[in-house]
Symmetry: none
Subunit: 231 residues, 2 copies
């Protein structure tokens, strides 16, 4: 929900930010200029969110039927509602949204939400911005909140696709091959081995070698000893 937005470009940017994070229901409370070509342009391929936007005459009207509302505001004086950090807020919002509509409410670009508007909401969200310059652009603030909501909805976090790692003995075979080759070429001095093998082991251990990579590395070691002469 965007309240009293001045610049239509910011409405478009908010629509795009929402759609990239899988959110669709945009409410506009007294937008100063809407619809507007600038909004369409900034929405890029999220014009469907603009088209479906509901325009309301007051925040109370927009909040009809909403079970829980979060207000984004830098205002803290005379605020009656408890504040909550944006990450926790997003996690709570995702849980609450399973049972009822939840709203995220944003104010005007210059003066934000009024005290009265914030007090209509259940929680005040704070983004931990730079205290010397904490003024996020409206579209950027919507992007951060929408992103946090999506991250919360995707929990538990998806991990990288499983790779097929080389077995213990395959990796040990590579290390033995490497050590033998380094001895042969005189790079590893058996009288003064220093920490060479342990260092190289640590390096390759961090890489979590795959089977095919072990094969490539051993092929490379072999080629060093028996270069292929190409025509």
């Amino acid at each position: 929900m965007l309240c009293e937005t001045s610049h239509p470009g910011n409405i478009g940017a908010a629509a795009r930010a929402m759609k990239t994070m899988g959110l669709e229901q945009l409410y506009l409370v007294n937008p100063q200029r809407f619809p507007d070509p600038e909004a369409e342009w900034r929405a890029s391929r999220a014009t469907d969110v603009l088209t479906a936007a509901r325009i309301c005459a007051s925040l109370d009207e927009a909040l009809q039927g909403v079970g829980y509302a979060y207000a984004l505001s830098a205002r803290t004086r005379e605020i009656a509602v408890p504040s909550v950090g944006c990450r926790i807020a997003a996690q709570q919002a995702v849980e609450q949204a399973l049972n009822q509509p939840v709203a995220l409410v944003f104010g005007n670009e210059t003066y934000g939400l009024t005290t009265e508007q914030v007090n209509r909401c259940d929680r005040l969200i704070s983004i931990p911005a730079n205290p010397e310059y904490s003024s996020l652009n409206l579209g950027a603030a919507v992007q951060v909140l929408a992103y946090e909501v999506r991250m919360a909805a995707l929990e538990p976090e998806v991990v990288a696709p499983a790779r097929t790692l080389a077995t213990h003995e395959e990796v040990e075979g590579f290390y033995a091959h490497l050590e033998q080759t380094m001895l042969e070429i005189g790079f590893l001095d058996p009288q003064h081995p220093k920490k060479l093998m342990p260092r190289l082991r640590r390096l390759f251990a961090r890489a979590d070698l795959e089977q095919e990579e072990v094969n490539i590395l051993r092929g490379l070691l072999k080629a060093f000893r028996n270069p292929v002469r190409r025509p």
Copy 2:
């Protein structure tokens, strides 16, 4: 670092996004229009970030002295670097930045980063966006990453890692040395290179090479070409 940005407004939006999250060092690689009044306007009170921006002719120039670079890209085909989710990436970046410069690299609004540019970086960052519309506005993407970096920096448990990583140019120097040596011994066939270099880059990228490790590996390559005959 913003590469080949088309719209100056997005440069301004990025500067504002950075400053609200306490970041200041903006690098512009071949911006199409900069400086520009549109950038100033969208930067709002972050024009100091624009004024201090460094303009570079290539990504390699921008990455001089950088210890670790994260690329933001939707491109995943033919990418040699491992990918990482944006939250984890931000946490790692904050730790790494205690010891060395760390870069976040963003591409052009339409075509993103080239495969070659992404492969110049150490990790590919993915933002878990809506698969049906995953195209964040450039300024919005900078806002999300800058926000995650700030959230990570505000975590109390950030401690310095013990390792000092090799710089971008040191690692690239190793790759060039490795490729040249493999060509010389006939292991890499220039007519049929297959995916050998990308695979090896990916392997070593995962290991996050230290300076001393790069020296050991290059010493090893040298020794292969000029074996030391011990008595």
